[in-house]
């Protein structure tokens, strides 16, 4: 069996499963956020009764992260709906915006967009929070009401996105009926050249198989190229499985995975026992291809979908209005460090926005010093508009007052993961997806730029 099949077999109490089979699986973690949480709670109450209790409070994780730093009153209300549910159900894992469990969240626009407006428990983007707070474990099953839940596949976990109705069903029963996907294998060899990042790998692969090339399928990553990558890089790749239509991403578990997970479960007091799935000698794949990482070059996905692949070096005629770094895919500390390497001591030429994925990233960028200067300062000195308000922000547009949102037709290069029309706001805008290096180099020149001009 493939890794995905092994996890699904175990979670459904079977010795063996085949692709196409429908199985009931026991859920280890259900994650929801402020956009889909209120609807999920609504479904749960409608179907199981207003006094119903969730199946296991320790398996539910609630992370407000999407529409937080906005004066939109319905968005603020939705965070309050989550808080009320958490209180009523006694849920231990709620990363609230404010500290008062009986309070109301209200964003104060008069204090501006860039200074922190959150309490001590707030974390930021859900998919980046889950591993940080010790909720991702090898061999387990994670469902989330968000399509990029597949990011946790980096941790040898079956993780996928679902809708409110399925999530409401899980809240009441702890189970879900799912179809076992076929598995595609992506075997990575060779080493990435300077200027090339994990983001380029996944953009290259999506360009290869197409925007629906992995529909209903598991994307399993193997080979020496995978073991050479750190967990952040694996997360970047797993995150974008959905952009090829994939059901989930799956990485083998190695010492790096174990060290990362053990450190975080211990630090946060989350469950520490887990059982990874190992690679079998006989696995059946519906697709199997070797990729030589040493041949990859900085890659861009052009408007209007993540499958529109081109090389950055061929796109220097494309003029840009804006650059953006942030999101679960591209807003990790390692992403900002790569970005800062390029812009250090230089000045951006176009409006450039930086939104850390989590509050931990904010802290790390302020604490990391290069030549006596914090990385945060290096970024700001280069002209990047940084906000301490870690969240999804303009990655998905959001309410009109969202930081970095494209409020008129413009061309934006972005370290995020999705570029369908209207994704970052205005529906006539064009979004180009690229690595943090490429976004940084392009911010400096105002046109799509191969970062190898700046990093060696």
């Amino acid at each position: 069996m493939t890794l995905t099949e092994k996890i699904l077999a175990r979670a459904s109490g079977k010795a063996h499963v085949e692709p196409g089979a429908n199985v009931w699986v026991n859920v280890d973690v259900l994650m929801t956020h402020d956009v889909c949480g209120p609807g999920t709670i609504g479904v749960f109450k409608r179907e199981f009764g207003k006094d119903a209790k969730v199946w296991d409070p320790r398996k539910v994780v609630i992370i407000p992260d999407h529409y937080i730093f906005t004066a939109d009153s319905m968005s603020n209300r939705n965070v309050d709906i989550l808080r009320e549910f958490v209180r009523e159900q006694g849920l231990p894992y709620f990363y609230d915006v404010i500290d008062d469990p009986n309070g109301h969240w209200q964003f104060d626009a008069s204090r501006g967009q860039t200074k922190a407006q959150y309490g001590s428990r707030y974390t930021g983007v859900c998919h980046t929070t889950l591993p940080w707070k010790g909720h991702t474990r090898p061999g387990e099953i994670l469902f989330g009401t968000d399509s990029h839940t597949c990011m946790a596949g980096a941790f040898n976990q079956f993780a996928t996105g679902i809708g409110n109705t399925d999530a409401g069903f899980i809240l009441g029963t702890g189970k879900l009926l799912i179809k076992v996907p076929e598995t595609m294998r992506f075997f990575l060899e060779g080493a990435m050249q300077p200027g090339v990042m994990a983001k380029d790998v996944i953009l290259h692969v999506i360009g290869d198989i197409g925007f629906d090339g992995a529909t209903y399928r598991a994307m399993q990553w193997e080979g020496p190229g995978v073991y050479a990558m750190n967990m952040d890089d694996r997360m970047t790749i797993a995150n974008m499985a959905i952009e090829a239509g994939g059901k989930n991403a799956m990485f083998p578990c190695d010492q790096k995975t174990l060290d990362y997970v053990r450190e975080r479960t211990a630090e946060n007091g989350t469950r520490e026992d887990f059982e990874p799935v190992e690679l079998d000698a006989d696995q059946k794949f519906i697709y199997d291809k070797v990729f030589d990482l040493s041949k990859l070059e900085p890659t861009v996905a052009c408007h209007p979908d993540p499958g529109q692949r081109r090389l950055a070096k061929e796109m220097s005629s494309v003029q840009l209005d804006r650059a953006y770094i942030g999101s679960c895919t591209g807003g990790k500390t390692s992403d900002f460090l790569a970005f800062a390497q390029v812009v250090k001591g230089r000045s951006v030429k176009i409006d450039t926005f930086g939104v850390p994925a989590t509050t931990k990233v904010v802290r790390e960028l302020k604490e990391t010093q290069w030549d006596g200067q914090s990385v945060w300062n290096i970024l700001e000195s280069a002209g990047v508009r940084m906000t301490e308000n870690a969240s999804c922000a303009a990655c998905l547009g959001g309410p009109v007052d969202t930081f970095g949102r494209l409020n008129k037709p413009m061309k934006c290069i972005s370290a995020t993961n999705r570029n369908f029309p209207g994704r970052m706001g205005n529906k006539e805008s064009e979004v180009y997806l690229a690595s943090p290096y490429t976004v940084a180099a392009s911010a400096l020149t105002g046109r799509v730029t191969d970062p190898r001009e700046f990093v060696s």
């Binding site: 609807g39 029963t173 925007f211 529909t215 239509g245 029309p421 529906k427 006539e428």
Partner: protein, 181 residues
């Protein structure tokens, strides 16, 4: 269920993602609150670029569409997992989307909510019909008839009874998987 509907169709191309079906700024609406459910319907497909889609799907000031059938190309409903997408279409009065292919989560959400029937077509119908054409969808025969020509659709198979029941909860209760209310 034996059912036939006749309606003008609304035609769109490939990769109609959830942002085009219901743009992110309207996700503050909570589908289980009845007034907000209705509002979601009024914004269905409002994210389609005007230049490519001059005909609005739901007229300004209305909550219902005149198009009960949507025809699309490949990968309809790709992008986010937001259930607001099939719900917005269902709330606007859509009964079926007939596409060359669907994105996984959207397809699943159609079934889970029972909001609409996601039919796969055998032909690329979005190139053969245009918005406003009158079509007849026969749920019994799994066919779509436009301009006197009948196209067979791929039968919905095992998910069909779930949608017929009105979604996964009704279905799970009918079949004894979870206790009745």
């Amino acid at each position: 269920m034996s059912k036939v509907i006749t309606s003008p169709v609304y035609v769109c191309a490939d990769n109609i993602d959830t942002d085009q079906i219901i743009p992110a700024q309207y996700l503050t609406l909570v589908p289980t609150i009845p007034e907000e459910y209705e509002k979601l319907g009024s914004y269905a497909l409002i994210g389609l670029p005007d230049a490519l889609y001059p005909e609005r799907f739901v007229q300004e000031g209305q909550t219902q569409t005149q198009y009960k059938i949507v025809i699309a190309g490949r990968n309809f409903g790709c992008g986010s997992s937001r259930e607001h997408a099939p719900i917005a279409l269902g709330a606007a009065g859509v009964e079926a989307v007939v596409a060359e292919s669907f994105a996984r989560i959207f397809f699943r959400n159609c079934v889970a909510t029972g909001e609409l029937y996601p039919y796969d077509s055998n032909e690329r119908l979005c190139d053969l019909v245009k918005t406003g054409d009158i079509a007849t969808l026969d749920f019994e025969q799994d066919t779509l008839t436009v301009h006197g020509k009948t196209y067979s659709l791929k039968p919905l198979g095992e998910v069909r009874p779930v949608i017929d029941a009105g979604g996964i909860f009704n279905y799970a209760r009918q079949t004894g998987m979870i206790a009745s209310k």
